[in-house]
Each structure stands twice: as C-alpha cells, then as structure tokens.
Symmetry: C2
Subunit: 197 residues, 2 copies
C-alpha cells in the first residue's frame, strides 16, 4: 500500500529510537515523554510498547546503542593518534569527551540516569565492551594497579561530565584545538606510572 499513512510503519523500532534521541536532546532526560516520542515518530501513543515494553525499555535500547557509539568515538580518536600506548590512551580520553560534548543528552543517559535497565543483556554487553576497552588501553600503557586504571577514567569522565553540562567554562569556551591540547595535558597527568596510589 502506498497511502499516506500505512497502518504498518516499516521500521518503527528504528524510528522510535531516533525520535527518542531527538526528544532527549531537545527536552532533557527529566522532561522525557514517551507520548512525545510517539507523536514525533507519527504513531499512536501506545505503539512504542510493542517494541520496547515501556519507557525505560526504550531508554535501555537507546543506551545500548549509545554505548556502542560512545566506544566508536574513542576508537575514532585512536585511529588518528600516534601508535604508542600512552598516546592511544590519551586519544581514547579525548574521544570520551568528544562524545559527551557532541551528544550531551545521550551521555547523560549512559552515565547519569537510573532509567535504563543495566541488567539488560544487550545493554550489559555494550557497557562491558566499553569498560573492557578502557582496561585494555590502560594495561597496554603499563597500568598495573587499580589506581592506574581509575585515574585516567576519572579524569576523562570528570572533564566529560563538567564540559558537557557547561559547568567548566574556562576550558569549555576555548577553541576546539586549544581545548584538546589542554585536555590532553591533563589526561597525561593521570597516565600509569604517576606518583601515588
């Protein structure tokens, strides 16, 4: 059928995920509305239930996809960085922060929301893959202790959270090139082999 509004959507699941991310970006996680997502996708208010169960189910699926893109942002930076382990680890941190600044709403969903079900298998795999990547990078850079691993992570995450929320204006308002250099310097302070810990 080629009417204006076919009863079956085609790929509603994908459309709903895209609409959900757009709604998230425009209204924020705290004003997220399942009915608004359905309306944006041009579908009835109860349609999402057949694909995701409830609102948290939709956000769980979106978070799983988000974690994959989060990891991709890190590997994208690594691909254009120097091949030594330290540079690769710094590049991963820059990718971590890229993602947070370019898609702050999604970053919030991944790290600052209780709505996704982190017991979900698919989300669990995506999140674990992203964590494993961190561990591998730190190990390759000579990290041995828990502090080695946690330090770079916390530094990258702290910068990502503060910058994406617009709370760290001193760095956030500078030009991207300068910003990268400053951030890289801070990440390097946390590389394995630092004092303490």
């Amino acid at each position: 059928m080629l009417t204006d509004k076919p009863y079956h959507h085609g790929d509603l699941r994908k459309s709903l995920l895209a609409a959900a991310e757009a709604e998230l970006a425009e209204r924020g996680i705290e004003a997220f509305s399942l009915r608004a997502v359905a309306k944006r996708a041009g579908v009835s208010h109860a349609a999402p239930a057949h694909h995701f169960g409830d609102g948290n189910g939709l956000l769980t699926a979106l978070a799983a996809e988000g974690f994959r893109q989060f990891l991709a942002a890190q590997t994208a930076r690594e691909a254009v960085a120097a091949p030594d382990a330290a540079s690769q680890l710094v590049a991963a941190g820059l990718g971590y922060i890229d993602f947070a600044m370019q898609r702050p709403a999604l970053f919030r969903l991944l790290w600052g929301s209780a709505r996704p079900d982190f017991g979900d298998a698919e989300l669990g795999r995506a999140a674990a893959a992203s964590y494993q990547h961190l561990v591998d990078q730190v190990t390759a850079a000579g990290g041995r202790t828990v502090a080695d691993e946690s330090a770079v992570w916390a530094m990258a995450h702290g910068l990502a959270d503060l910058l994406s929320a617009g709370r760290m204006l001193s760095i956030g308002s500078s030009a991207p090139g300068d910003r990268d250099a400053v951030i890289a310097g801070m990440l390097r302070r946390c590389l394995p082999g630092g004092q303490g810990g």
Copy 2:
C-alpha cells in the same frame, strides 16, 4: 490550637525541603514528584506552591542548601588534614567525594540536573562560593594555569560521579580507609606543578 492537624503547619518550608530530599533519595530525580513530597510532609498537594512557586522552585531552594552542605563537607575534611596547601587541596577533594557518596541524590541534583534554576540569586551565591573555594585552594597550592585548576576539579568530580553512581566498583567496594588512601593518591597526581597543560 493543639489539635492533631493545625491548619497552619509552623515551618512548612523547612519540612518540605526535608521531605524533598528524602523523596529524592528514595525515588531519584527522574521520579521526583511534588505531590509525593507534599504527602510526605502531611500537607495538601498544592501547599508547596505558596513557598516555592513550582517544583523547580523547590528543587532550586534544595540545591542552594545542598551547595552549602557540599562546601561544608569539604571544609570538614580540611579541618582534620595537614595544614600545608597541597594536603588541604587533597582534603577538599576527599570532602567533595564524601558528599557525593553519602548523599548521591543531592549530588545529582547539584551537578546532573536541569531542574534547579541556576539563575536564581541564592543558588548562584551558594554555587559561586563553592567554586571560589576551589579556586582559592588551587591558588594557595601554587596553581597558576587553567589546567592546574581544572585538573584537580575534574579528578575529584569524576571520582565523585562514578563512585556515587556505583559505576566504579573496584574502588567503591573497598573499605573507607583504603579507599581514602587510593583516592588521595589519585588526587595528588593532579596537583599544580604536574606535567602538561
């Protein structure tokens, strides 16, 4: 009148703030309900409006009070730390993280929510005081650059956010004493005078 339910509450404003924090801790910011706060305070659903305007107004007032306690958590750690500037700065970081772990919901309200009105005068003062304290501490410790200031902040904030959300189990699950030592070591990596930046 000494009946069971006097028409006037006495200090409803304070009761509502306490009820709001309890609701926040139990249900999270994303499920925060103004009516539930009113019910917990034993008052009608529209009563909060007379003291705070709307829901965001209540959360704005709660955030202002939260920032004061946030700063107090830092100075409490400083009071029992060595007097040199570096130790004081590390102590402030430990207090930052104490607050996040002991009152995660409130920490989320301060740093991860769009609901408080950060243009509000009282909240602005409280937040600025907390930021100024950081700047003073870093300056006293010999910090000169933006990176000096941002590095300790980001490290403390990253640890606080990840630990309070239960995402950094390697450190979060260890005993408080050991945890403090590890965290202090990581904070020291970010002290002014570090390489880079």
